[in-house]
Every structure is written in C-alpha cells, then in structure tokens.
C-alpha cells in the first residue's frame, strides 16, 4: 500500500479551486442583498470602483480558500482506530470518527470537481443527521484506497494488507453485474413520478405567469383577451389541448430528470457489498453493505409491469429520524433477472410471499370517511354558512370523489401483508404498487395496537420497527398477528443473529 494515511495530509493541491468555488458560493449566498443593490444601481456606479471591488472580493476569497486548504488535514489513527479530520482557520474543528462506527463512505463528484478531476469523499456514521466527515478534493485512487481502509476498519486487525491491495484492484476488474441501459432509463422516465412532475410543472408555469404579469403591466388586458379566446373556442377542445400539452411536458421533464440523475447506472459486486455508481453531470457512488440493509422496497406500476422494469429502494440503518430519507438508495429500471441477482446478494435467498393477511373492510370504510365524506362535508358546510361563492366550484366534487374513491379502493385491494419464515412483505399502493421486504431478524421491536371497539371483531394493527424505519399494517386478523409476533420474538430472542 503506497498511500500512508497515518500521517496528517492535505487534500489535492488543485483542491484549492474547489475551496474557492465553495467559499464563493457561501459568501455570495451571505452577501446577496448587497449584490442585488449593486445590480440594480449598476448604471450609476463607477466602473473602476466596481472592478476594484470585485477583484479585491475575489482575492479575499482566494486567500480564505487557500487558508482553508492549508488548515484542512486528515489522517487515520491506527492505534485508536479513528479517522481524524482537522479543519478551520480561526475556529478550529477536529472531527474524530471511530472506524467501527462508520456506516457508509460515498465518493461523489460535482460538476466543478469533475472539471478539475478530483473527487469528494463523505463519511457517514449512524450518529447524527448530517454527514460527519467530508473531504472535498482528493484524487480517485486516493479516494478508493481511503474508502477501502475506512470500511475495513472493523476487520483490519485480522486481515492482511495484501488483501486490501486486491480489494481495489478487484473493483476495476469486476464487471458490473447490473447495468441499466439507456433504454431502461427511457422506460423509467415515461412511467414514473407523474404526480410529482405535475406539481413541478404547475409550479413552474405559475411562477412564469406571475413574473410575466409583473413585468408587463399591460398583460392585464391580455388576460381578458385570453378569456375571450377561451370562450370562442369550444371548451372541450381547449381542455383537451391543455391536457395533451401537460402530459407531453410531464413526460419530457421526467425523461430529462431520470436521465440526468441515473445515467450510466452500474451495480458492481465489491467483496460482499454492492457498489453503485450513477449520474450524468455529477457521478455518485455508494457502497451498500448487505448486513446494514433494513428495508428493501420493490415498486412497480401497471406500465412498468408491461415493460418488465421495476424500481428497488434500499433503506439502510440510521439512528436519526430526519436522516431516513437521505439513506434511501434507489436502483431504477432493473428487470426481473437483475432483481434476482441483487436480492441474492442482499438476502442470500429469494424472499417469497408466505401466508397472506388482508385488512378488514372497515379500513376502506374509514378511509372513505376520512378522505371523501369529511372533506366534502366540510366543503358544503363552508359553502352554506360562510362563503356561498364556493358553490360555483362544486363541479369539481364528482371528479374528486371518483378519483379519490378509485385510489382508495385500489389501495385497499392491494394492501396485503405476507409472512413467511424469514421475511415479512408488505404490499401497498394504488397505482405504484410497493412491496416492502424486511427480514425477521432485522426487527428491533414490535408494537401491536387495537382500538377498544375492535376487540370483539378481533382485528388490530401491527407496527414493525427496524433501524431503517417502521412497517405498519392496519386492521388485520389480530389473533394471527399476535401469534406471529410471538414467533418473531422467539426467533429473535433465541438467536444471536446480527441486525447490522
């Protein structure tokens, strides 16, 4: 191993540039009101002063960036098994991370880092919400070596150094066993996230519309013209036209988003872990250790089933609730075969659906009450007692009732809990059907819950707690639930199986 991490060392010298851009961003964010004033008064300003101001500003930032670079040092303390990062110009900060606490090491590359050819290394532990250790600029080989060293921290005593050398060689040699093709990405793009993108598109159009109105005050007149125009056209034609454009926009934006985010998605096997790398502008790479995986969710909707693609979401162990969203790793657009390969690595055996638990019909009744009867009732109460003009919007109600009704019905029909000896699978969702899979050995605790008026009909809820989040199933047969809770407890308490 040529890289000695035991001596405190700085980042790549070229990293000063990254520091520079970072500091610039930070300061620009802090000073934007000042900048705004400058821009507005641009004409009145003396160009010489302005030029001098900008130059001195940049010099100060460059100086600060250089100092930041000088004061940033990291090293591995082999004796105490710690990874230490020292940073700060005036306020010194020393981050000490115990090697066996390290959960995840990511190597990322942003646009600026890609331009100058350095990588960013993030060290994540279970402890707190944000990334603890962050090295902004190191070379690729150094990053890989350091990553291998950091992740092997737990076992470093027993393993020979020569083995480590083979580790990062094997990264290069190993062929990725899942490679998501451009075609799959296109398929993913046109089949997912309609609602989310619709929201984005609407927000976008609204902002533009608003800004145009503000900039061109005469637009108010145009507003009326627009209305006249709308009236003159047949309404159905008009609505259809808008609808088509909206669908078109959603598809295009979806495609662009998916391709940018997941371009060249590769899953490589790295010893017993999965190594993922993806991204068009900034390449992200993450290591997933199978023993840290808590919940695996397979998501697929009707179109995706026809296309033979599915999305896998992997939730790893985190201790803070806010971090759970961040710890989700997504693998979009795998096919059935690739799914099996990934599952083999994560679980060693294929999770199968065992006995089925169905929710009681009361669940459907309750959700209809909550999402249809209650809002519609409130609408009419408001309309009759407070604001009669609301009644003109009542034509929306049938659409709302039919749409939500369908979502609730399908959601109810798809809601299932499958239990087998090693796995618990919860199926849910109306359009996008999720299958959340957890191994029984990963259970941290179980909560059962029963409303007192459900005692007689023997139905109740169960919440399964894992280190990657909870899994809840409502209104199932309570006798069966209790029996399985007893069985799981027995299995957990009699084995030393490690959940992490």
């Amino acid at each position: 191993m040529e890289d000695d991490f035991n001596q405190p060392q700085r980042q790549s010298p070229i990293g000063v540039l990254v520091m520079f851009v970072d500091t610039l961003q930070l300061w620009a964010r802090g000073l934007w009101p000042v900048l705004l004033v400058y821009i507005v008064k641009f004409k009145d300003l003396n160009t010489i002063y302005l030029g001098l101001g900008i130059v001195s500003f940049l010099i100060i930032i460059a100086f600060v960036a250089y100092l930041k670079y000088l004061n940033f040092k990291f090293y591995l303390d082999d004796k105490n098994e710690e990874f230490v990062i020292n940073e700060g110009i005036i306020n010194k900060k020393s981050t000490i991370i115990q090697l066996d606490r390290i959960q995840q090491v990511d190597i990322n590359q942003s646009l600026i880092q890609r331009i100058i050819g350095v990588y960013e290394l993030n060290v994540d532990t279970a402890g707190s919400a944000k990334k603890e250790g962050r090295i902004r600029a190191i070379s690729h080989t150094l990053a890989l070596n350091l990553k291998a060293r950091l992740l092997e921290g737990n076992a470093v005593n027993e393993k020979e150094i020569s083995e480590e050398a083979t580790v990062h060689n094997s990264i290069n040699q190993n062929q990725p066993f899942v490679k998501i093709s451009f075609l799959s990405l296109l398929k993913v793009g046109i089949t997912t996230n309609y609602v989310k993108t619709l929201g984005l598109v609407l927000a976008f159009i609204m902002t533009i519309f608003d800004n145009v109105k503000r900039i061109i005050p005469e637009y108010e007149v145009d507003d009326e013209q627009l209305e006249n125009f709308v009236d003159s056209q047949s309404t159905i034609q008009y609505v259809g036209f808008v609808f088509l454009i909206l669908i078109f926009l959603i598809l295009i934006i979806n495609l662009i988003r998916v391709v940018f985010k997941y371009f060249d998605y590769k899953v490589t096997r790295h010893k017993d872990s999965l190594l993922l790398s993806f991204g068009l502008l900034s390449t992200k790479s993450t290591i997933v250790k199978p023993e840290k995986v808590q919940i695996v969710t397979v998501t697929r909707n009707y179109f995706q089933k026809k296309f033979d693609i599915l999305e896998i979401k992997i939730k790893q162990a985190t201790s803070s609730d806010t971090d759970i969203k961040k710890a989700i790793i997504e693998i979009p657009g795998c096919n059935e075969k690739e799914k099996i390969a990934i599952f083999k690595l994560l679980f060693h055996i294929m999770p199968e659906k065992g006995i089925v638990l169905k929710p009681n019909y009361r669940k459907l009744v309750f959700s209809i009450f909550l999402f249809i009867i209650l809002p519609v009732g409130l609408f009419f109460i408001f309309a009759f007692y407070l604001d009669p003009t609301l009644l003109t919007y009542s034509y929306v109600l049938p659409f709302y009732i039919v749409f939500i009704g369908l979502v609730l019905c399908f959601g109810f029909l798809n809601n299932r809990l499958y239990i087998n000896d090693n796995f618990i699978i919860k199926q849910s969702g109306a359009w996008d059907i999720d299958n959340a899979i957890i191994e029984t050995s990963k259970i941290q605790g179980v909560t059962t819950s029963q409303l007192f008026w459900h005692k007689r009909v023997d139905i109740g809820c169960i919440i399964i707690h894992t280190a990657g989040g909870d899994l809840a199933f409502q209104l199932g047969n309570f006798t069966v639930i209790k029996q399985y809770v007893n069985q799981w407890l027995y299995e957990i308490e009699t084995s030393d199986s490690n959940w992490m």
Binding site: I324, I443, T447, Q450, N486, E493, D496
Partner: protein, 173 residues
Amino acid sequence: MENFTNKTIDIKQLPKFEEVVFTALHTKYFRVVLINLGIVIGLFILAPMVLSVINPELFSGRVWLILGMVIPILLIFIVSFSIIGFRKKGFAFREHDVLYRYGVIATNTIVIPYNRVQHVALHEGFMSRFFGLAKIEIFTAGGSSSDIAIPGIAKEEAENIKQLLMGKIQKQL
C-alpha cells in the same frame, strides 16, 4: 456439541406476549399525574383572567361565553384521558424482552427484545424526584418510534431494573 438439539418447535406452545400480567405504575405516580393536571387546569383558568386584566377590551361577552363552554369540556377531556391513561399504562420484564402497554382509545403494546436494546437511561423529573420516582428510558436502533419510556417506577426499583437491563445487554454482546 452434546448439548445440541434441534427439536421442532410448536408455535402454539410459544410464550404468549398477550397473556403477560402487566405491572401497574406506582401509586405515588398518580399524585404526580394529579399535580400536573392541577397545573394545566390552573393555567387554563388563569391565562384568560390575566389577559383580561392586562387588556380588558380583549374579550367581549360572547368570547367569554365561548371560552366558558370550551374550556370546561376541554378540561374534562384532559382529566379523564390522563386518569384513564394512568390506569392503562403497565409494564412487564420477561426473561428475554420488555413489554410496555399504553393508550386510552387504542391499547398499544410494544415489545423490545433485550438483544436489540442499545442503551438504557434513568430520568428523574422535578415532580417525580419529590416523590422518589424515576422514569426508565429504553432505546433501540429503530428511532424514536421504537423507544420505550416507562414513568412512575420507584427510584430503587428503577435502579435495579436498569442494572438488570445493562446485565442483559452486556451478556448479549
């Protein structure tokens, strides 16, 4: 090796968590609940009075009427929920796991096996310390939803339970 057996287990014979007898919280803790209730009731009654003294025009007669109706109903709810909540709370320490039952409308039972416990803490509130009570907090890696906090245990007993739990955790490691 000679001790190794691998008999088929009968799932029906497994110990049942739902049949465990729960220990109620310490009766002294009921006083803590009552005192807390007293403080809440006092605040609800005092706050409007103080406000009306500072700014007499703030409340019209109608607002007083509404307040006079809403506050008692709210207070009756809070009082009955607290008292029933106290009655329903219970805990049990089995050989391999800890159970805690709570909830007024829904009865929730949370079970945490000892080999999933990360750490244990003893918490003494101001009021509880006055009565010699403590709260045991049991943390797992599953985030706040799967942590247990059992209030109203006598200080000595709580200390013993903590030792017991620590012993169990140590043994597992």
